[in-house]
């Protein structure tokens, strides 16, 4: 029998059903890997007992001849942005340290109801704000990948879903949840050589997910292969009356619909994504991706998304504005930390609590957001950004008159060393240059591994689809996956 922790979600599901192994054996194998990987700091809380509990339920159901659930026997990791009943949920912040929800987020509940078991709560950038997992109150997540040639520098697993990406690529879990506001599923997937999909805005309920920027936040799966993403997304998606922006639509059978035959599909290549000075290896990877999609039968056309250069500055007005509003709830009264200096009144308590509870990047974004929403500046910044956002969305609409999907790089570089970009917030923001536009337009977008760069680090390709057309995105992802033959994995050092 092959190593259980090398199996994909589909292989675990099918192997368990076929009697090749028990669910408990699978859970124990992953629990052991989690326990042995403290050096990666991928988990904030480990819940081996939850994984075993779900596994035992699956084994019992199977022994009794009961109908098995879609994810029976499959353990997963849960990003610590999803509220989990009875299990600490922190958003990687000091503010929520010790917060133990009395309810379960819709997305996590759907996964548990489908038979999945929880290996633990995965580390992330604080309140999902960051691209390198260096803003977590619980310490950096270390990527399992290292540069070749004996360079042992600790590398970023990407962010904000950096615990998820590190854990999957290190075989601590076969799949995990992520959330994506401006690239937080796709960029970490690219940095660690795995896949992940941000579905259309509204597909997955935001209820019970710690809010960052509500018009952008969207949950999605992360896993090593495209099929696993399709399997998980089918369970995670679906209408939820508790989220006012949840789409009341049937969930397609994405796994059954998988096909890497792209004949009749047109792939748009947006010329604005190839600026002067684009990293030559990224550019070459993109060209290989284009060739793979052609090989799968697709026709390639050049398209233009003229407002692309304005996407990042638009995002860095809208996301902080929404964050400043969403994070106003952390007041030291209802949940989370309270800092009450001697003799302090209510207002002093708010200010002291928030000064102690938020990290520097979170404060920076709250303050930017407060400023752009303040009297006298609202129209110049926020309204202008919402207008430019409409133009960015229109760019995509016009492009999709000429093509069915878009292919771009996922990130402008491979993973970088921890600390390398931390001094300059703007340099860090530029990581999301290729992922933010699809977020602003609410479109489904996926990262899939394309290969390794000269340093031996993974590079990703991004597929962006029409609203609600996750199937074409997944299918193009599968076509790339089949041709890229990406089998590289980090050499174990942890």
């Amino acid at each position: 029998m092959s190593n259980l922790t090398d199996l994909t979600v589909a292989e675990i599901r099918d192997g368990f059903r076929g009697g090749d192994f028990s669910a408990r054996e699978v859970a124990e194998a992953f629990n052991a890997n989690v326990a042995a990987a403290k050096a990666l700091n991928a988990f904030i809380v480990e819940t081996p007992e939850k994984a075993l509990e779900a596994a035992d339920a699956a084994d019992k159901a199977k022994a009794a001849g009961e109908a098995l659930k879609p994810l029976s026997g499959v353990p997963i990791g849960m990003k610590d942005l999803f509220c989990t009943e009875g299990v600490q949920t922190t958003a990687a912040s000091h503010m929520l340290e010790g917060f133990t929800p009395t309810y379960e987020s819709t997305v996590s509940k759907k996964l548990w109801d489908a038979g999945a078991g929880m290996l633990g709560k995965l580390n992330l950038d604080q309140f999902a704000m960051g691209s390198s997992n260096e803003t977590s109150y619980f310490g950096n997540v270390i990527s399992p990948w290292r540069r070749g040639g004996g360079d042992n520098a600790a590398l970023a697993p990407g962010g904000s879903s950096g615990g998820s990406s590190a854990a999957i690529s290190a075989r601590l879990c076969p799949a995990a949840t992520g959330t994506d506001t401006g690239g937080s599923i796709r960029q970490p997937a690219a940095f660690t050589g795995i896949s992940g999909i941000k579905p259309t805005y509204g597909r997955c309920s935001r209820w019970g997910v710690v809010a960052f920027a509500s018009s952008l936040d969207q949950a999605g799966p992360m896993a090593r292969i495209v099929r696993d993403n399709a399997i998980l997304l089918e369970t995670m998606a679906g209408f939820d009356p508790k989220d006012s922006t949840s789409l009341d639509l049937a969930v397609p059978q994405w796994e059954a619909g998988l096909s890497s035959d792209l004949r009749g599909k047109k792939v748009g290549i947006p010329k604005e994504y190839r600026p002067d000075g684009l990293n030559a290896e990224i550019s070459a990877m993109w060209d290989r991706g284009i060739a793979w999609l052609k090989d799968a039968g697709a026709e390639v056309v050049e398209v233009s998304l003229p407002h692309t250069k304005y996407a990042l500055p638009t995002y860095y007005i809208i996301a902080p504005a929404e964050a400043s509003s969403n994070l106003a709830r952390y007041d030291g009264v209802r949940y989370g930390q309270r800092d009450l200096p001697d003799g302090a009144g209510l207002q002093d308590m708010y200010a002291a609590t928030r000064a102690a509870g938020f990290g520097p990047e979170v404060k920076r974004r709250i303050m930017i957001g407060t400023y752009v929403l303040s009297a006298g500046f609202y129209d110049a910044y926020y309204t202008q950004a919402q207008k430019v956002r409409a133009l960015i969305a229109r760019d995509f609409e016009l492009a999709f008159e000429k093509c069915d999907l878009l292919l771009t790089p996922t990130a402008p570089s491979a993973s970088f060393a921890l600390g390398e970009k931390q001094a300059d917030p703007l340099a860090m923001y530029l990581n999301d240059v290729f992922t933010v536009p699809a977020s602003l337009a609410g479109l489904p977008a996926m990262a899939v591994p394309g290969g390794l760069d000269g340093q031996g680090l993974p590079l990703g390709l991004q597929i962006i689809g029409r609203a609600l057309d996750e199937q074409t995105v997944l299918n193009a992802g599968l076509a790339i996956e089949e041709r890229a033959g990406f089998t590289a994995r980090p050499e174990k050092w942890w």
């Binding site: 400043s324 009264v333 949940y335 309270r338 209510l346 910044y381 207008k387 409409a390």
Partner: protein, 95 residues
């Protein structure tokens, strides 16, 4: 437009985040860098463009005006830093 120390302190106060003078001073160039960079949006011609209000066209639903939740006081208070007699407790607001 660039912001000065006074403005940073005002934003911090509006944000209900206490900052020391040294912290506020360090934030002046940081926030100016970011704001200077986002100001390039001013050059985009947005004549006749409506600000986006919904990412995906989606009509907000109405539901029957009926009680759907409640009787969960203990659960609501379970994570409060200070809860007394079934209430959230805060420092004295009025002398």
């Amino acid at each position: 437009m660039s912001i000065d120390l006074q403005t940073v302190k005002k934003i911090a106060s509006l944000s209900r985040i206490s900052v020391t003078d040294a912290e506020a001073e360090a934030m002046v160039p940081e926030l100016n860098n970011i704001l200077g960079w986002v100001e390039q949006l001013g050059e985009v011609d947005v004549t006749g463009v409506e600000p986006m209000t919904a990412v995906i066209p989606n009509k907000l639903r109405l539901r029957e005006d009926a009680v759907t939740d409640g009787n969960v006081r203990e659960r609501v208070l379970a994570n409060a830093p200070q809860a007394e007699h079934g209430f959230f407790a805060v420092p004295k607001v009025i002398e």
